[in-house]
Symmetry: C2
Subunit: 203 residues, 2 copies
Amino acid sequence: MKYPNGKRSANAKKFSAPKQQKKTTFSNRGMTLEEDISLTNKYYLDSQIAVVHKKPTPVQIVNVDYPKRSAAVIKEAYFKQASTTDFNGVYRGKYIDFEAKETRNKTSFPLSNVHQHQIDHMKAVDQQGGICFMIIKFAPLEEVYLLPSKQLFIFWDEQWKGGRKSIPYAFIKKEGYHIPFHFQARVDYAAALDKLISELEEN
Amino acid sequence: MKYPNGKRSANAKKFSAPKQQKKTTFSNRGMTLEEDISLTNKYYLDSQIAVVHKKPTPVQIVNVDYPKRSAAVIKEAYFKQASTTDFNGVYRGKYIDFEAKETRNKTSFPLSNVHQHQIDHMKAVDQQGGICFMIIKFAPLEEVYLLPSKQLFIFWDEQWKGGRKSIPYAFIKKEGYHIPFHFQARVDYAAALDKLISELEEN
């Protein structure tokens, strides 16, 4: 009963990833950064290290079918603009909030990967004393970094004043925190977060 | 192009509320608790009091149409079980996490309004040092309370050992924190939260 006329519409295709097509990465691990983070979060939850979840993709539901004796089927819905970042949760009593992005660049992270609403949200969280950052993966280099929001804001704000439209790899390597790959925690950001938290507490 | 055959399926109806039919409340204010909390959160965000968002309803997307020159249309999707509570965010640097429920009872809050996965999530957050609670509205009384998770857990765990299946109104009134109605912050939980936080810090 899922396809009443027995076929899908001409334009229909199997849905894979919520917002973007799954990119071919050069990683031999074969998973997207987001999938790796979700697995890490599951490990953190099971091990009582942190409680962090990915927010569901926001969807505007317009039309729902309630067939007898089976689950409700959403027949018409649209993707909505998110008003927050993708991940948030609690770590060592602290509110943490982040966005994850991967780039195929080797020398810089293009700011076009970030959206104004994500910056606005991060600034609001920052003002409230939460801990915000980005997890950035340079796919060709197989390197992942945690970049604190404060560093991101500098480049974001400067780009409107004639600044560059990307953050240099060298800057991220210097000012960010390298995140190692571990088998159980594929994007093991907890140690990087410990360093960020102790730096924030020093200031 | 939204309805290729020009009509909706026989069982289709306009979708209103994500999880449950909007209940008739006895409130002359005419809004659900969830709507009131969302307005409050917007006021808190605009006034830099807190950053709290409702999580989107989780949906399993199966089939998406990408028509030329217009927005992607989700043609088949299903409601998924949430793995967390509905609201979370940051307040005064602290991670807060809560579920909101209204009841038409006057003398107790039935535990059937709460789900095991919500309790599991709250316990994990609690263990991580986050602040968890429920906002409970007794609709006929027009009274709203913040009940700390610890009190909720007591009744939740006891019900499986022959305990009662509901939390008495008198208990919630005594152990919870009354939340007043304000015009701009319709469920003005910040002051109740201040009291909870100072009690937690005393212990």
